[in-house]
Subunit: 259 residues, 2 copies
């Protein structure tokens, strides 16, 4: 009986104390046995980074029927790697990252530790979903997200995902959504990325900051457009980053070089 209950592995990048993680646990409790392995501190912007110079430690912080919670000194990606190696007794049926406090749509997909969680699950053949709310408020109100997250998660638990594809789900910070759109990653760049943080006479200190500039603000297919217009944005995301469309042209160019 126990074995038939879906095993859902959860992590995030805001750390074990984040409200978004607690809310996600509450939402997913009815859907399966939950194993949480979350970073012991804030790890926003971790991307898929790994720790190479120090060992990683984990410890149990809570256990009850259907829910086990661990904290880990590693990155979000390592939380998934280490949980699979140490504490899950079988391959999880699902990996879920979040709920992130902040927007992971568009170019942010590359920097996101929440996506680091999900990309790691996906590489290892586990259907994986990242959930993010476009608000950095540590006490953000996640209530309106709950039924959406439960329904999307149930759908993926039931039907799975294609190989090498995971989901990046972002919610606008509003009280009622206009609907759900399946999107493509918006193309854009970050600008005004640094704020001076002078220390004494040394002006070479900076805080990372910035704002996102959508290069195609009228592209109704993009996740940034969807969020700007009040929709939940689901961006299917591949971990196969080969630029297939350029292989032939580049091959021709390389043939002309006398290496």
């Amino acid at each position: 009986m126990k074995k038939k209950c879906p095993l859902i592995l959860i992590s995030n990048d805001d750390g074990i104390a984040a409200k978004g993680l607690r809310v996600l646990i509450d939402i997913l409790r009815p859907l399966g046995d939950l194993v949480v392995m979350a970073p012991d501190s804030q790890r926003s912007g971790s991307s898929c980074s790994l720790t190479v110079t120090v060992p990683i430690h984990y410890r149990l912080v809570h256990r009850e029927e259907g829910l086990t919670i661990y904290e880990c000194s590693g990155t979000p990606t390592e939380c998934i790697k280490l949980a699979r190696y140490t504490v899950t007794d079988r391959l999880p049926d699902l990996v879920v990252g979040g709920i992130n406090h902040g927007d992971n749509s568009a170019t942010n997909v590359h920097y996101s530790g929440t996506m680091g969680v999900v990309i790691e699950g996906c590489i290892n053949g586990i259907p994986s979903i990242a959930y993010s709310l476009c608000s950095h408020d540590p006490d953000a109100n996640f209530e309106v997200l709950c039924s959406y997250i439960r329904k999307i998660t149930s759908m993926i638990l039931k039907s799975g995902l294609p190989p090498l594809v995971c989901l990046n789900v972002n919610f606008p910070d509003i009280k009622e959504f206009n609907g759900v759109r399946v999107c493509e990653q918006a193309k854009g760049i970050w600008t005004k990325e640094w704020e001076s943080c002078q220390r004494g006479v040394d002006a070479n200190y900076f805080w990372l900051s910035g704002s996102f500039t959508d290069k195609e603000p009228d592209n109704e297919k993009s996740d940034h457009w969807a969020l700007e217009h009040g929709y939940v944005a689901i961006t299917p995301t591949t971990v196969d980053v080969t630029a297939y469309g350029f292989i032939d042209e580049l091959s021709q160019k390389c043939k002309q070089i006398d290496f």
Copy 2:
């Protein structure tokens, strides 16, 4: 006259003292004005990670005609962001990452800080190339790579790259190459990823380790196959990670849900 010389922005993830960086500088000197902004310490496995809890600092360490070198307390990705904001007087013509001490082909593309350099350049519209040698030896012999790197770099300086596409170039650790292959990212996973590192009675300490298992070892198109068979592997890599092929199916599935 000065303005017409290509501006090449260089970084890495092995840090400012790495031999691979010194070799790369020597190789690229004849091709343009070089600005180097490298991490002040080892940053392997940084992916596209960002620093969010402390300010970032940079300082000049060397300047001569055509070559300026800075070190930076940030991640490889931040080295590119900060160099563009602080020390380059125009958009670089090229971003180059490396030469990495270690294999960045296949699944490694997601964890690599060298690719963090190059993805950041690419997102910002700059043709960008990562070079890696499949050897972790700090004193690796890069001699056989030199003419390949100079020729590939010259080609890209001349012809550019399509929008949102960068190059991930990996060299096998052998004395003579069988040729150059334009590849796709090998599909595979890391296994045996953790080594116990018990501390007193606490067995929950681990070193990240592991080995790569190619799931399609006979796929002659893959970068891992190329490297295993003595070829230089050039994998064109996209920063648009949308799984376009799944959008329609997922849209249909979402329409069946009563959100």
